[in-house]
């Protein structure tokens, strides 16, 4: 069997997958914590362990993400957008619109039935268009980032925010806490602000069904629900939305090697 690795070394999380003859065998996810090189080694080790393989069994590594230049093993670099769209296609071949909300950017891609990108928009200038703001607010509210979605769904009246800047949003959230606004409402309000900002990015493309959302922010069910309202489409989230880029990297690398 041919074992191919896909690595996606992001600014917040590092992801590794191992494919055996084109199907997912194992994956690992771990925080990048500022050191790309160590994070890449660590997450690859995790995936290898889960797959019960050793380094010598691996034939090829395909990689993408911000930390690519720091990977210490030989690898094939794959364009990021191609990786994401290909990975989304692996999970669901009917995807035509992919919304990837990561730590530093939001990317919206239109994809074909073969998982190729035909058009895209990237927003990486402002933290409110990215998943980064979720981390900031979770910290301010002292809640686990994983709980944001559940808390948001319990809100009866989302708090109103007057700003679109992550820094000022943080300040406003603190004022709301001081005024006694329940944190459920603060989170729901934040999700609404973020959804409308991401919605504005999405609407720059003519989107088609099916829609899929990936990246760390897709783990936040509250945000996904607000996004569905915002764009008027149902949004699918794969079971593990963080690893689509890594899967795509592995698939494309092995195709490149075969040709």
């Amino acid at each position: 069997m041919e074992y191919v690795v896909g690595l996606d070394i992001g600014s917040s999380f590092s992801k590794a997958v191992i494919l055996g003859d084109g199907s997912l065998l194992a994956y690992g996810v771990s925080p990048t914590s500022g050191n790309f090189s160590t994070a890449a080694d660590l997450v690859l080790g995790k995936a290898i362990q889960k797959a019960k393989l050793s380094m010598a069994d691996l034939t090829l590594i395909g990689a993408c993400g911000l930390g690519v230049p720091f990977i210490s093993r030989p690898f094939t670099k794959i364009a990021e957008l191609s990786c994401h769209s290909r990975g989304a296609h692996y999970f669901m071949p009917t995807v035509r619109t992919l919304i990837e909300v990561g730590n530093q950017s939001t990317r919206v891609m239109k994809t074909t039935s073969k998982g190729k990108v035909t058009d895209y928009v990237v927003s990486d200038k402002c933290a409110v268009g990215s998943g980064r703001i979720l981390q900031i607010i979770a910290k301010v509210l002292k809640v686990d980032i994983e709980q944001l979605g559940q808390l948001s769904e319990k809100s009866t009246g989302p708090a109103k925010f007057t700003t679109n800047c992550a820094v000022f949003l943080e300040t406003e959230a603190i004022s709301r806490i001081a005024e006694g606004t329940p944190k459920e409402d603060i989170i729901a309000g934040l999700h609404r602000t973020l959804a409308s900002k991401i919605g504005a990015i999405i609407h720059r493309l003519k989107i088609e069904a099916d829609c899929m959302m990936t990246g760390g922010a897709a783990l936040d069910g509250g945000l996904v629900a607000m996004m569905e309202k915002e764009i008027g489409q149902s949004i699918r989230v794969p079971e593990q939305p963080l690893i689509t880029g890594a899967i795509g990297a592995a698939l494309i690398a092995s195709e490149k090697a075969a040709s």
């Binding site: 933290a127 992550a166 820094v167």
Partner: protein, 248 residues
């Protein structure tokens, strides 16, 4: 208010007329009139530097460009949507680099090779600064890069109302020598900075108050003072100890 009365050995009753300005101007119960900070800034700067045509006010939460002709407002532009180009940006960066806010300007001037800071979003720039730091870039070079990027942002905004000589910088940002120098480089000629750049708005408010008081005449003023005294008494009673931040 209490501080300034103590410093000038005046009593509240001796004050003829009070104009409040700034974000909190509507929360000053004993003020006779509220005037926008743009008008007050303009007036304050005009009294110090009559030749100023362009005022760049860099506050803690916003930055403004004000265009003046013969002491009158001609044009105006403002950024209060985004922390970039405001004092807030510098607070965040000073904090992450572990440098005192008062020192960042001076230290940025020691840089010989300003770092390239490509992000203007405060949140991303904070991460970028940390990354440069871990790569071994000196704090001075990072600060110089940060100042350059923000000067660029502020310049681009103010340039939309056409920058004309003389240019004055006011607000907390004017106390940051690194930012003033970076802006001068961008604008292409020297700018003027008031000796106390934080109080130009208040100075303008006082000048406007003086004019209004003169126009009203002593009899009307007496009546107003009586009304104000009642409000002030309740206010001073409630706030027997002024808390930090109450007087902005």
């Amino acid at each position: 208010m209490r501080d300034v009365l103590a410093n000038s050995s005046l009593s509240f009753e001796e004050i003829d007329y009070i104009v409040a300005t700034g974000y909190g101007r509507i929360n000053v119960p004993f003020a006779d009139q509220q005037v926008t900070e743009i008008k007050c800034h303009m007036r304050g700067v005009h009294s110090l530097f009559p030749n100023v045509r362009t005022i760049i006010d860099i506050g803690g939460q916003d930055s403004k460009g004000i265009k003046v002709k013969d002491g009158r407002l001609v044009d105006f532009i403002m950024n209060d949507k985004c922390a970039a180009g405001t004092g807030r940006f510098f607070e965040v960066i000073a904090d992450v680099l572990g440098v005192k806010l008062e020192e960042i300007g001076q230290r940025s001037l020691l840089s010989e090779h300003p770092a390239n800071i490509s992000n203007l979003c405060t949140v991303f720039a904070e991460q970028e600064a940390l990354m440069r730091l871990s790569e071994g870039t000196s704090v001075e070079d990072i600060l110089a890069g940060i100042h350059k990027a923000n000067a660029c942002r502020i310049y681009t905004m103010v340039a939309r109302i056409k920058i004309e000589k003389d240019v004055a910088i006011t607000g907390g940002g004017a106390m940051n020598i690194g930012l003033v120098k970076a802006l001068e480089r961008k604008i292409g000629f020297p700018v003027v900075v008031a000796p106390e750049p934080l109080i130009t708005g208040a100075l303008g408010a006082a000048l406007i108050a003086g004019e209004t008081a003169a126009a009203l005449g002593p009899r009307k003023l007496e009546g107003m003072k009586e009304k104000r005294r009642l409000e002030a008494v309740t206010f001073f009673d409630q706030e027997s100890k002024p808390e930090h931040g109450k007087w902005h």
